[in-house]
Amino acid sequence: MRPVLQDTQPWHVDHGYGDLCAACHAGDPTAAEMAPAHRGLRSPLLDPSRACAGCHPSDAWARAERYQAVQHRATRRSPPPAPPAPPHPAQPSTLANRILAALAVLFSIALYLTARSELRRWRSAPRDHAVPARARLRAWLGASQWSPYATGTMLGLVVGYSEVFCGRPLAASGAFDRLAAWPGRWLFPTSQYYRHVMSPGITWQVWLIVGVLGGAFASSRLAGEARLRWLPDREWTPRFGAKPVVRLALAFFGAVLVQLGAGIAGGCTSGLAISGGAALSPGAFVFMAGMFAGGIPTAWLWYRGPGG
């Protein structure tokens, strides 16, 4: 349940389907500190021409008066409600905890059984200690690939740092919503979304993707893989041919769907699936299930028939 939907203000209940806070209250939701985030805060009902007329140009004042009446009644009648008790106080011995503990024991046994052979293989793998450390470091940095568990651990630490010390999810798709708001505002001047929900800006996330550009360049450069090219290295050409225009068209079309899906779901692979999953959000796992439900049939369609 969104907190605003439990609010005593009926406006919030009626409009609680979207994250519209800044559209009416102003301020900067992308700021990390309280002071810049609260800059320019205003009380929307005091100025309906600004807060309400964007969506309800013909009857902004009538609507605002209705909400104002309720607000007066609410403030007159009752003192501010006491902060509600946390909905799920940490109880060490709830039923859920006991079931989880039982699951953990079962999983430990299953893990031991499945991991035994892997461990034996890993222990018996040969290791080369004759190469000097410097050369080994150079080879390590210039490798074209590391173990997905090593890179996954690295990304996990980055995600954790970003959440704990920057207070933000490590998200790639949000930056494009911000960047697209410039042409969007200009192309669709009457759009509710661009007038009230999404404002353009060079935000934290835009700098993040600038960093991604640099990191991928550095890593591929050291591996000798950074070069201009039109086509994927493997599997594309046998299936789709060597014409760059076909690749461009499918790359464009796929990217449109990817960003649209990220908008609907509230994040992409990094922002929702990984960062959200790391914050233990149930939505992240539903999103991942959706990804497979959409991706598996699509990949099958592209690769069915001869040559697939």
């Binding site: 969104r2 389907y17 979207g18 799920h88 859920a96 905890n97 953990a104 999983f107 893990l111 074209s144 997905p148 996954g152 651990t153 990304l155 996990g156 995600v159 954790g160 959440e163 704990v164 960047l179 697209a180 969007g184 509710q192 700098w207 993040l208 960093g211 991604v212 550009l213 640099g214 991928a216 890593s219 591929s220 591996a223 950074a226 090219r229 039109w230 493997r234 068209a249 796929g254 449109v256 769907l257 960003q259 990220a262 908008g263 609907i264 509230g266 692979t269 990094s270 929702l272 960062s275 914050a279 959000s281 149930p282 939505g283 539903v286 299930a289 959706g290 439900a293 991706g295 598996i296």
Partner: protein, 177 residues
């Protein structure tokens, strides 16, 4: 200046890990949907579990009062995931890897992927007032966590989650090693 240093460094490490994980390859991304190459799954689930452990440690140590929990609206998360999966299996991209592929010098990412993301963002902008009021209302749980929803200890949820991830990864280890 110092404000942008953090996202730049975090982004650099993010991009580095995407390339070193081999996620800048069309074949790798589509491979996960063809159930031939599960590198993406190994990478993502490892990052998820490690990230979750760091966040829980950060919360317990008091470095932060709360993590940013994305809002759960079951129908929107599911529908968005399906659209996302269709696009990802078509282009072999997700938003982060498009940027990483652009950094590698791939022109299809610069001229196809990046403009596609901007057009997709605008398409969402136009559709948002039409579809989101309905989509985001069904199964709207808000900013909850699995631990909060179950009324369980987050560390126990994390333990069972990481065990489930480890088991899944070990059991699928034979697919496209």
């Amino acid at each position: 200046m110092f404000e942008i240093a953090k996202p730049l460094v975090l982004g650099f490490l993010f991009g580095w890990s995407l390339h070193k994980a081999g996620l800048t390859h069309y074949a790798r991304i589509v491979g996960v949907y063809r159930l031939r190459d599960l590198t993406v799954m190994r990478f993502m689930l490892t990052a998820l579990v490690v990230g979750a452990a760091v966040i829980q440690l950060g919360l317990d140590a008091g470095f932060t009062a709360s993590a940013t929990v994305p809002s759960t609206a079951l129908l929107a998360n599911l529908v968005g995931g399906v659209v996302f999966g269709v696009g990802m299996a078509t282009a072999g991209y997700c938003p982060g890897t498009i940027v990483a592929e652009a950094g590698e010098g791939r022109l299809d990412a610069w001229l196809g992927g990046l403009p596609g993301l901007l057009v997709g963002a605008m398409a969402f902008g136009l559709l948002q007032p039409v579809i989101m009021p309905t989509l985001s209302r069904v199964g709207a749980l808000g900013h909850v966590t699995l631990a909060g929803l179950l009324g369980a200890s987050p560390w126990l949820v994390l333990l069972v989650l990481s065990q489930a991830v480890a088991l899944t990864l070990l059991l699928v280890a034979r697919v496209g090693r």
